[in-house]
Symmetry: none
DNA sequence: GTGGTCTAGACCACG
DNA sequence: GTGGTCTAGACCACC
């Protein structure tokens, strides 16, 4: 459960936390059914407020990624329905944004694909 | 100069504006040296605050994409150096985020590449 | 006595249990005077905490649906008075909530009635 | 903009707020594109904390019902996509719960339909 | 001046 | 002991 937050980064802490947990799931450091640290524990470990962690857990639960229940802690949801229209639209928006960002920087299509592959491999191999 | 802002989207307007201008450059609707509308003009056309447009121009200039000179308006920078370390780090961060988002949604690597290609083609052919 | 709990659902387990027992009564799988499993038995079968089952039984008894006697276990109350003001107020509150939820989703009045009929039929025919 | 909260009710204030806003929309007291009070204003009017109102707005925005943007306040979303699978599943769950609640109370199907119609009419005519 | 985020700390519901 | 809710108050990003 190694999670690193960058407090200098301007993206909200709860979003960084959500991204980190998603990454842990993708690299199988967290598997379906696994329990996550308690809100209070993780908050203390990371040096952030309890509510910040709670919000991350809550939103991940709303996305169907975590299963959070009162008195029982949080765990990785054991099954997921296919993503909904909202999620797909959001993903396409991010892709569009990324592509334009890359092209205007002079990063070509092939180079972009290569960077993505590199990132995927880094995730699958457990590197950070 | 067709720019469409999505007021439902919760990304800041100035960022949407920056993305739109980058897209126009990528699809060659704006070429190197071309002039952009004045801040006041574009703000009025889009119905947004003057400061919002000014910020978009300013940040694009900081990225070396636009050239703004006092009293001469803004234009597409005629030449660009290779992107710097900050831009590359930023691009990699966005890639990492996108990849984790896709994987956790159940979108596989190949599907992701396909979605990117589709987006690139849509840009190159001038579709929105 | 087939009771299925959905651990993904975020409604409290004791409430799910109460709803399940009510459903069993409505579809006549449990008839007036029938005995229910002991708290310990049901808790073990469902893999939930003993207090959770106890609370469900206790609240159902408070609603006049179950009859619990010390040392004799729980059974379906053999007769019920007409529902009280508290129950009716509660039902109306739930209806109000449901109607607003449906309308704002774009589910019209007729569609809502149809969904209710479908649910009732599913219960009467013993399907889950 | 008359919103009444019941602080004795055990349902969370932010959920009561969400329900109230949905009701105002359904009875056309709030129409598409209309602005809502600022978070601070409404919090003060209702005598609740700013964060409580902010959460209600945020979750309504996540449901596509409100459009909330930094620096511009909140407004009723002018258009909604068809509800997703999650919303429909949730609605069906609430219906199932309501039906079992009614039947076990001795409220028959016709009576239930009548209560729903009464509620809808009360909403459409602007009564509370 | 708008909403967004974060903190600190309290109390409650659930298991 | 778990997560959920609420409050009070601060600071920041955006328009």
């Amino acid at each position: 459960m190694l999670i690193a937050l960058d407090l200098h980064d301007q993206t909200p802490i709860y979003e960084q936390l959500m991204a980190s947990i998603k990454e842990l799931i993708n690299r199988a450091a967290l598997r379906k059914g696994d329990s996550l640290p308690t809100v209070r524990q993780l908050a203390q470990d990371l040096g952030v407020n309890l509510n910040t962690v709670a919000r991350a857990y809550r939103e991940l639960a709303a996305q169907g990624i975590l299963s959070v229940r009162q008195g029982r802690g949080a765990s990785v949801a054991s099954a997921r329905g296919r993503y909904g229209a909202a999620e797909e639209a959001n993903l396409r928006r991010e892709i569009k944004r990324l592509v334009n960002e890359a092209l205007v920087l002079g990063v070509g299509l092939e180079e972009l694909h290569a960077m993505i592959d590199a990132e995927v491999h880094s995730i699958e191999e457990g590197g950070s």
